[in-house]
């Protein structure tokens, strides 16, 4: 192989990047988690984490992340499925992606207007004869906006999985007597599970650590691990505690990645990359 003959000088910038921006930050987070606000070594951050406030926060985070992921998947899967059936599917897919190219803050900001007391939703509600509703600063608004933000990221991997599905599998299932629903349950869903898993991965982990939407839409409450970290680092200036929460978030992240690790169905892809 001639591959080995290339000199490794050009590896240097990339390796520096790995050292400084991948390894060092994680090490530093671990390191800082053992210091209190005055800079003295301590275990108390870890002890504190297992006290009720942070445990409830963690459970809350997981609950919200679960809800967000669930509803995102519920909306994204049929959307991806129907898009693969359209004539110009690549164009429709592009149209799904376009909103995700618009600055996140702008979209969130728009929802503040839409859901506000004088916004169109409340105008609609009052027009129907009901009283004005406080939509903003509720759990519903938080989950709704988060789902909105994540939908394109869920649609993409599922669309790809569906699009790569060999149509002769569907013919085969039909040929063997399966109805549309059975084909979906027994063939399409299991064969696109990898796409679903990647989608869950790219939604669940960020959903655990949301803080901007929480602040703006859910009304400045500290309800997720993300908000807690931001609070500790930028408001309380307690980097030690912030790092400790971050350590747990990193651990959760690895667990989730393990759980959603995609198994190669059929192992065909391995042949390509020798």
């Amino acid at each position: 192989m001639n591959k080995s003959n290339f000199r490794p000088w050009y590896m240097i910038p990339y390796m520096i990047w790995i050292a400084f921006f991948v390894i060092a930050p994680i090490v530093l987070i671990f390191y800082y988690s053992f210091f209190d606000i005055t800079g003295a070594f301590t275990w108390t951050n870890y002890v504190d984490f297992f006290k009720s406030t942070y445990l409830i926060l963690t459970i809350n985070s997981f609950w919200y992340a679960f809800l967000i992921t669930f509803f995102t998947l519920l909306i994204a899967y049929p959307t991806a499925y129907f898009i693969t059936k359209t004539k110009h599917k690549q164009l429709w897919l592009l149209l799904v992606i376009v909103p995700s190219w618009i600055n996140l803050l702008l979209k969130t900001y728009a929802f503040i207007g839409i859901m506000g007391l004088h916004g169109p939703i409340n105008a609609f509600i009052t027009a129907l004869g009901f009283d004005q509703q406080q939509i903003l600063f509720t759990d519903f608004s938080f989950v709704f906006v988060a789902v909105y933000i994540f939908i394109p990221f869920m649609i993409l991997p599922i669309f790809n999985a569906l699009d790569q599905l060999n149509p002769s599998y569907l013919d085969a299932a039909k040929d063997l007597g399966a109805s549309g629903w059975t084909t979906f349950r027994k063939v399409i869903w299991p064969l696109t599970l990898n796409g679903v898993k990647s989608g869950v991965q790219v939604v669940f982990i960020p959903a655990l650590s949301l803080f901007m939407i929480t602040r703006l839409i859910a009304g400045n409450k500290v309800i997720t691990l993300g908000t807690a970290i931001e609070q500790q680092f930028l408001v309380t200036q307690n980097w030690g505690m912030g790092s400790t929460i971050a350590v747990f978030l990193i651990i959760f992240m690895f667990i989730i990645m393990r759980l959603t690790a995609t198994k190669e169905i059929g192992g065909k892809k391995h042949d390509k990359v020798k």
């Binding site: 085969a172 039909k174 007597g177």
Partner: protein
């Protein structure tokens, strides 16, 4: 006489109102026979298969299955199973569950599923492989799993869409024997699609040669090989020497400026015809001793025989298969018998062809 299991009546098919895929096709398939749809890619053979399977509805015409009109019956409600070209074995299920797929859908009880799947696997000589993953199976084994998955449902007709095309040459000829033998043991109707004429000749009870959405000729392998109806069939099945000629009268034909005896008749005198002579029917003799003289241009050793490319005085090429050797540049004589000369009328329909064959016989009556 067995009853027809599948009947096509004036079936036409076109996509998006543009290209005609099938052009007014009618035929009957009898129960328990091995049929082959043979033709180049794009001739419409796979479309016929998909129509029988129920993946498509014909644009025009009717399809009958076991005497019932099935135009609008979807694939999952037909007693037909398909062995797909790429096998379409579900990668997320192991061998057992792949074969069991159809039975599970019919909610057959577990005990019976196990029995029938194991039996089907035994039938295709894959006993003991039930717990393997599909990825662990070789091409030939996957092929058999696909067949087992089809036969386990006890369908009346099994459709095979070029199932051997992904296999290497040796395996392919092995599978030809196996498939043929399997069909005879099962006694079911097989409809086999291929573009490989050797495969078709080796396996079929009856061959439908197709081109451009039409059935060109149907018949037993021997019929089709010996009496091709037109230039296309002659060219597609086996190798042939085709020259233009003129019918002098019954049993006498003229080509290469000479008149030759033949066994065909029923053609108007002086009508232009195509003459075909198979390369293996040409026998090498010395110059002047045969019917025509040719000069040897090239010679290839093909294992069982020599393949000679020769040219006559008019510049027509004559391909000769011979166990005897010749010298390049040498002029040799070629001998053939009257029954080796096959006369084809231009644009003759299959019906007219069949009637003429009935009346005048041909190679069949030997």
């Amino acid at each position: 006489m067995t009853k027809p299991i599948i009947r096509f009546e004036h079936v036409s098919m076109n996509y998006n109102d543009s290209k005609l895929i099938l052009d007014d096709i009618s035929f009957e398939l009898e129960e328990g026979k091995f049929y082959t749809l043979l033709g180049p890619s794009g001739c419409g053979k796979t479309t016929i298969l998909r129509l029988i399977a129920g993946f498509m509805e014909p644009t025009q015409g009717d399809i009958y299955f076991d005497g019932e009109l099935v135009n609008n019956i979807p694939a999952n409600e037909r007693q037909v199973n398909t062995v797909f070209q790429d096998y379409a074995l579900f990668p997320h299920l192991n061998v057992f569950e792949n074969v069991a797929f159809g039975l599970r859908i019919k909610k057959v009880n577990n005990k019976e599923v196990t029995e029938r799947v194991l039996e089907a696997l035994k039938f295709v000589s894959l006993a003991g492989f039930e717990n393997r993953e599909i990825t662990e199976m070789s091409g030939g084994q996957r092929q058999r799993v696909a067949i087992a998955r089809a036969i386990v449902n006890d369908p009346k007709v099994i459709l095979l869409d070029e199932p051997l095309s992904a296999l290497d040459l040796k395996l392919r000829s092995e599978m030809q024997y196996e498939l043929r033998e399997l069909q005879q043991r099962l006694g079911k109707t097989f409809v086999f699609v291929t573009h490989d004429q050797e495969e078709a000749l080796a396996m079929s009870d009856e061959i439908f040669v197709m081109n451009e959405g039409k059935i060109q000729q149907s018949g037993t392998p021997l019929d089709i090989y010996d009496e091709p109806i037109n230039r296309f069939v002659a060219d597609f099945i086996g190798e042939s020497n085709i020259v233009e000629g003129r019918m002098v009268r019954d049993y006498l034909v003229e080509f290469n400026g000479k008149q030759f005896e033949c066994v065909d008749g029923g053609v108007k005198p002086n009508e232009k015809v195509d003459i075909i002579i198979r390369p293996e029917d040409l026998v090498i003799t010395t110059q002047g001793a045969g019917m025509i003289d040719v000069e040897v241009d090239t010679q290839l050793f093909r294992g069982v025989h020599y393949e000679l490319s020769t040219y006559d005085a008019d510049g027509n090429e004559w391909l000769v298969h011979s166990t005897k050797k010749a010298e390049v540049g040498e002029t040799i004589g070629l001998h053939f018998d009257p029954e080796d000369v096959h006369v084809m009328r231009l644009n003759e329909t299959e019906e007219a062809f069949d009637i003429r064959m009935e009346a005048y016989g041909g190679a069949e009556d030997e």
